[in-house]
Symmetry: C2
Subunit: 324 residues, 2 copies
């Protein structure tokens, strides 16, 4: 199957690597809005996004590696008119509206599209669904981290006097342990996660003012216990260059006529590279889309609609013999 | 949807409870090979299995709660000729042959069948498949326990001089920690699990002989470090009456052009009641079978072939809004 990438940031680079490792996929091109001559890939030919917009490229699945805030809301419906597409749209509250727009475009054009692939939304969503279907009488908890939140790091960088920053989301261990013991705690935002910030300030900047601006920033930090460390650019580059992340989806529930039996289901990810793992999930779902479209499926789907066997390069017989 | 149960042991009782808790299911009957008058359910009407064999019962999905050793290999293909059926066949090595027999019967009769639902095979299989599709360059580990193995408990009970017994499978914590650190250890059977046995012996029995027979029993105990405790019947009933189980599926893998990024995916179950959790999984898959058959799917499938959304009683719109 012929795969193409639109957008070549961290995610696009991860997809390039994941598709190269897949035995049944060929990466035909990276498409970019930048001047193609300025984009240096790991061997994949680079083309202008304008070529892609003509709709005549020989591509089985187009992987859209744009951002959720401004790119994907228009990009995914637009390209679903011309290709089978997949994205990693991750603004949870706007998923229903995005789904509707993409579904309309894909269904009318006879293509298949999958939105919101990755790990949250994505693998975490799957685990919320599986666990709640199996244990209807129960409660879900999602903890994130320890890991770098790029959105929160960006928010700090926009503060006056800040040169660079890295923000880690840290789950509160005691809260997770209480959940794992099946104690069903009611947890506030503050009780679930803390935020740890490593900030490089301009020389002579007012550090107290920066720290205060971070800690009181609405939505991002005000509802959390936040720690701020001022460090040098050298230290940031040496100790905080990676993009690790992860987290746990935990569901606790009961069975029995008197709810006398407690069960705990936990799905836990520990990731050295958030974009590369996200890219690996997207790549597996691109394979599934190809198979589903070959069988006649059209319109928009999500990870909830994809049978697990379609993600694998193994045959159904091999899967049953080796993995069931 | 109308659900019926065939077989009323621990698993059948668990299914009765799970189906009663489902808002969209009606439990129409328990069918038994015993005299129906001798079977006391939690309110479900009891019928003779002979009635079911006539093939004219008004049942949307028949849940087969027989044993894998002797019941299901003939029971599932037989009833797949007459009803939509689901079983929890768990002899991993014989799954391909069982699948073929059930598929033939279901396809010819226009029914749908699902084999090997539960947690292993079942939820654990799903997690092996998802993690290996997402991280093709990696290694799988499955650890079981701490939990009661009914097969191993039965094996001890068959020894001369034994009145009753309970066997716990215990994962080796150090081995699990090594896997979680991504060290990719090569582990022998002995290095992964130990076995702990609580045995009630007949008065005057030769305890040393019993202990030796357990520890040297091929397949069941010879390849493990096994501990044997002789206890009273009273203690067995007081402290070892439950059927807890669980375990972890862990996949560690790498991404990046030089495999420089390590990822760990873990799915962990901690279950107070093995049969009730297994029953809950089967019940969710019974719902999926009903939906799939309504859409025209026929023949045998496994958990690998079922789209997650079909397991839930929520609509696709609700799932996308709440769980994605």
């Amino acid at each position: 199957m012929k795969i193409a990438i639109y957008g070549y940031g961290n995610l696009g680079k991860g997809v390039e690597c994941a598709v190269n490792a897949a035995p049944d996929m060929e990466l035909v091109g990276v498409y970019t809005r930048r001047d193609p001559d300025t984009v240096k890939t790991n061997g994949t030919p680079v083309f202008s996004a304008k070529v892609l917009q003509q709709g005549n490229q020989d591509v089985d699945v187009l992987i859209l590696c744009g951002g959720s805030a401004t790119d994907l809301p228009t990009m995914t419906p637009e390209f679903a008119k011309k290709y089978n597409v997949i994205d990693s749209f991750d603004t949870h509250a706007k998923i229903p509206a995005h789904f509707d727009a993409v579904h309309k475009a894909a269904e009318e054009s006879g293509h298949i599209a999958l939105i919101s692939a990755g790990w949250d939304p994505g693998m975490f969503s799957l685990n919320r669904l599986y666990a709640s279907a199996v244990l209807p009488n129960g409660t879900d908890y999602t903890f994130w981290g320890k890991g770098v939140s790029q959105g929160h790091s960006d928010a700090i960088r926009r503060i006056d006097g800040v040169l660079d920053a890295r923000q880690y989301t840290v789950p509160v261990e005691a809260a997770m342990e209480s959940v794992r013991r099946g104690e069903n705690p009611d947890l506030t935002t503050r009780q679930k996660h803390t935020r740890e910030c490593f900030v490089v300030a301009k020389e002579g900047a007012d550090l107290a003012k920066i720290e205060n601006e971070i800690k009181t920033m609405p939505n991002y930090f005000a509802d959390y216990d936040t720690t701020v460390h001022f460090i040098s650019m050298e230290e940031l580059k040496q100790n905080h260059a990676g993009l690790p992340h992860g987290g746990s989806v935990i569901r606790t529930g009961t069975t029995g006529w008197n709810n006398e039996h407690k069960h705990v289901v936990e799905y836990k990810l520990t990731l050295d590279s958030n974009p590369e793992f996200t890219a690996s999930v997207i790549t597996a779902y691109a394979r599934a889309l190809y198979k589903m479209h070959s069988r006649g499926t059209k319109g928009c789907v999500t990870v909830f609609d994809v049978a697990p066997a379609d993600l694998s390069s193994l045959s159904p017989e091999e899967l049953r013999a080796k993995m069931l």
